[in-house]
Amino acid sequence: VAEPRPEATRHGAGRVLIAVYAVFALAASARAGYQLATHFSAAPLAYLLSALAAVVYVVATAALATATPASRRVAWAAVGVELVGVLAVGALSVLDAEDLPDETVWSGFGAGYGYVPLVLPLLGLAWLHRTRPRR
């Protein structure tokens, strides 16, 4: 069995994973940009969390697609933050709806996007683990 090289991160099933990450990078960025540009003052916390989600997805997409040892470390961090983010914002949106009056991609654990935002970081971590360089 050949040792996985860092480039393995962006090939095979990782190709599709990165494509899905790119879709969410786009969706979250567009949503955050629109919210911040049109009515930021209405719900600053929700919109800042939207912006955070957008940054996390953009960084994760770029880091996974770059697929070097250094970018893989960035990807681990970004996907980790993503998992914490979707769990924390999901819980907050369910328990305390008043503090989050408007939607982010992570609201309701990503229910508005078919719960893909909840599953995606788990797949991301599993893929990073599977393609880790072994010696």
């Binding site: 090939h11 095979g12 099933a13 990782g14 190709r15 599709v16 990165i18 494509a19 899905v20 790119a22 879709v23 786009l26 567009a30 629109y34 540009a37 049109t38």
Partner: protein, 120 residues
């Protein structure tokens, strides 16, 4: 948007996406038929994009222009970007990327039609 054109592009996206999904499951690499299907889909999306811009400029109804225009722009970009990312992968997973791109486009067209109908 024009309702029948939105339906046509939406269903075409779905067809290309499902075909690519089936091909992925069957372990097929991207072939000429899939690329041709994606090209036809992109052509339809570009027509819809041009029509959408023309309608948005002329309409007297209160449609959220920024929202509509951003969905319109995204709807023509996803398939070419997806195809570019897909052809770099000579395995079933390249076909999988095409499936993601086409199904995402279907969702965008659905939302586009909704924004046009309801205003935002």
């Amino acid at each position: 948007v024009i309702t029948w054109l939105a339906w046509a592009t939406g269903l075409l996206s779905l067809a290309v996406g499902v075909a690519a999904l089936v091909a992925t499951v069957r372990g097929r690499r991207i072939d000429d038929v899939q690329l041709l299907g994606s090209a036809v889909l992109e052509l339809a999306l570009l027509v819809q994009g041009a029509v959408g811009v023309a309608l948005l400029v002329r309409t007297e109804r209160p449609v959220d222009g920024v929202l509509f225009a951003s969905y319109l722009l995204t709807s023509v970009l996803v398939v070419p970007l997806g195809a570019f990312w897909a052809v770099g992968e000579r395995s079933r997973w390249g076909t999988g990327v095409l499936a993601v791109a086409a199904l995402t486009t279907g969702a965008l067209v659905l939302r586009l039609e909704q924004i046009w109908r309801t205003g935002g």
